[in-house]
């Protein structure tokens, strides 16, 4: 009897594992097969040449996603620029300094932060953060790349804190004891020993946070202004790849070039996220080396 249940379970688990792979392959296949008509019509290079995304232009439609890649890059890098230092510092505090009850209080709060719907953050960005930014930098409008970067950074924080804390906690006790025994202060121990020892884990945390940031749509859609021109700075409006899909998908005529071009944008987004997650995975795999 037991062996039969075991075999059943084995099959079920195997099927679940295979299903995940099938989903991924299915998504990739859908994206690829639906992008092909756009690729043959527009040409691969024309997607990446400097220009504008104007599928519904008065004249000849153009499909350059050049500016959107720049926009996605700006929002992502801007988000990580403040989320990584903040997240790592919070993680170091949680694992090295905080007393048990502080940890008990803090960790659920981080999880609540992860649960805030992105549309709520977007609304906060639009109504509260935008006027603050406009006043701070003396610009006409706070609906810009910086606003998006800040909000996306907040969204990436829980991922970064949780993973970085795991990485720091995993650093063997002996490292800390050795440092303290040599007369290092607590600060020196954290900053010079523990955090560097957890470096690959922390980088992986940052990469996964980045994966979250690249694909984030709703918040960015609401606060970055979504202009199609190339942004001149972080204080300028911009449009990201994911926002572009969300904006256009509602009114596209199915099976038109525009429709397939949107699938291509999705494919580009998929490839970027895939690479980032793959790199993060490789870094996580490398973690045991640190512990030698």
């Amino acid at each position: 009897m037991r062996s039969r249940t075991e075999i059943m379970m084995q099959i079920i688990f195997w099927a679940s594992g295979i299903a995940i792979i099938l989903f991924l392959v299915g998504i990739l296949f859908t994206l690829l097969s639906n992008s092909l008509p756009a690729l043959s019509e527009v040409g691969l290079l024309n997607f990446f040449r400097p220009g504008l995304w104007r599928p519904g232009a008065f004249g000849e439609p153009t499909y350059s996603i050049n500016n959107f890649i720049i926009g996605t890059f700006m929002v992502t890098v801007g988000a990580l620029a403040f989320a990584v230092p903040l997240g790592v510092a919070a993680a170091a505090y949680l694992s090295e300094i905080a007393s048990p009850w502080e940890r008990e209080l803090f960790k659920p709060i981080v999880e609540v932060l992860a649960g805030i719907p992105s549309v709520v953050l977007g609304f906060i960005g639009l109504v509260i953060l935008a006027p603050i930014l406009a006043n701070l930098f003396n610009i006409p409008s706070g609906i810009n790349a910086l606003n998006g970067a800040i909000l996306v950074g907040i969204m990436a924080l829980p991922t970064i804190i949780t993973l970085a804390e795991d990485a720091i906690t995993a650093v063997p006790k002996e490292y800390r004891h050795a440092s303290l025994a040599l007369g290092g202060t607590r600060w020196q121990t954290i900053w010079k020993v523990t955090v560097p020892a957890a470096f690959s884990g922390i980088t992986a945390a940052a990469m996964l946070g980045m994966g979250r940031a690249i694909g984030e749509t709703m918040t960015v859609l609401m606060v970055t202004g979504n202009m199609i021109a190339r942004p001149s700075s972080f204080l300028d409006s911009t449009r990201t790849l994911s926002a572009n899909i969300a904006i256009d998908i509602g009114d596209v005529v199915s099976n038109s070039v525009h429709f397939h071009a949107l699938f291509f944008v999705g494919l580009v987004l998929f490839v970027i996220t895939f690479i980032v997650n793959l790199l993060a995975d490789i870094l996580i795999q490398r973690k045991p080396e640190v512990n030698k």
Binding site: G59, M227, I228, D248, V253
Partner: protein
């Protein structure tokens, strides 16, 4: 134990409430049918349901019309949702809904697509008139613009308020996204070219109002109903330099056609409408329907619109 008793009590209360509600519903329904029979104008009405989706500018108005219609015709259930004109039209093409609300005419490609998928031509009804207001920050001294000036501003040719008689201040353009009927209407009627790539594409009308409220140099466009919000003002618009500028917030200016930025609101159906759908469309363009249109902040259809509707409704 105590908890359990409370739970039982709560359950019982819910049950009683449910019975009461269904009881009321049942006692009401026969009365309605009786009145129908008394009038005796139509044969026994068949239960019908109508799904409507599309333009966000129309969703509140059509919901109100549907509510009023359902009071008189309780056998018809009408569900109205938004999503944008483009969303409504593509849902109609896919056959998911019965009526598509749209604040723009259907594109040729969409008509062809619908014919191919549904095997029938689409029919259109104009049931109300909407005006688009051009809004600026309430502290902006500019009060009047011509359609040409607004077009040049949105094409990016005029980038500073001083060029249209205002302060030396850069103009920030706010507009909707391509799913919006207002976006398309404004592009075709005013911009008559591509929008400036510098334009911010915001998700909804209230986002535009919010942005212009916070931006002294901002300009945006919105349905007239939104133009009276605090923090913004509607500029008076003249058809050209020679003509007078009109205030869109004054009803007569819009109904007389003097205010240049008006548009008919459409509903599209698959094939020639019949049955409950036809009945609902006829109610919308009836006197009672048009009065409701006016009460909701939109404008009644003109004689030209009545002629336009003949193809679908006669």
């Amino acid at each position: 134990m105590k908890q359990k008793r409370w739970l039982a009590l709560f359950g019982a209360a819910l049950l009683v409430l449910a019975l009461l509600v269904t009881g009321c519903g049942q006692s009401e329904a026969p009365m309605e049918t009786e009145t129908e029979e008394e009038t005796g104008a139509e044969e026994a009405p068949e239960a019908a349901s109508i799904m409507i989706a599309g333009s966000d500018s129309e969703v509140n108005l059509v919901t109100r019309l549907a509510e009023e219609y359902m009071i008189v015709n309780p056998h018809v259930a009408i569900a109205v949702t938004g999503g944008g004109s483009g969303v409504g039209i593509s849902s109609l093409i896919d056959g998911g809904i019965d009526i598509a609300n749209s604040s723009r005419p259907m594109k040729e490609a969409e008509e062809a697509d619908l014919k191919e998928k549904q095997g029938q031509d689409t029919h259109a009804v104009r049931f109300a008139v909407d005006g688009v207001a051009v809004v600026v920050n309430k502290d902006n001294p500019v009060a009047e613009l011509t359609v040409d000036q607004i077009g040049a501003i949105y094409r990016g040719e005029i980038a500073n308020w001083s060029e249209v008689g205002g302060e030396d201040l850069a103009i920030t353009l706010y507009g909707r996204q391509s799913t919006s009927g207002t976006y398309v209407f404004f592009m075709e009627k005013v911009v008559q070219a591509d929008y400036s790539p510098e334009m911010r594409n915001l998700a909804g009308t209230s986002d535009i109002v919010e942005a212009v409220t916070n931006d002294l140099g901002g300009i945006g466009y919105a349905a007239i109903g939104y133009a009276t919000k605090d923090g913004i003002k509607a500029v008076l618009v003249a058809a050209d330099e020679a003509s007078e500028a009109f205030d869109p917030t004054i009803l007569e200016n819009v109904t007389s056609g003097d205010y240049p930025l008006t548009r008919p609101l459409y509903q599209f159906v698959i094939g020639k409408p019949s049955g409950a759908i036809l009945d609902f469309l006829l109610y919308e363009v009836s006197e009672a329907g048009q009065q409701l249109v006016l009460n909701e902040g939109f404008y009644p259809i003109t004689n030209a619109d009545v002629d336009f509707n003949k193809k679908a409704l006669q």
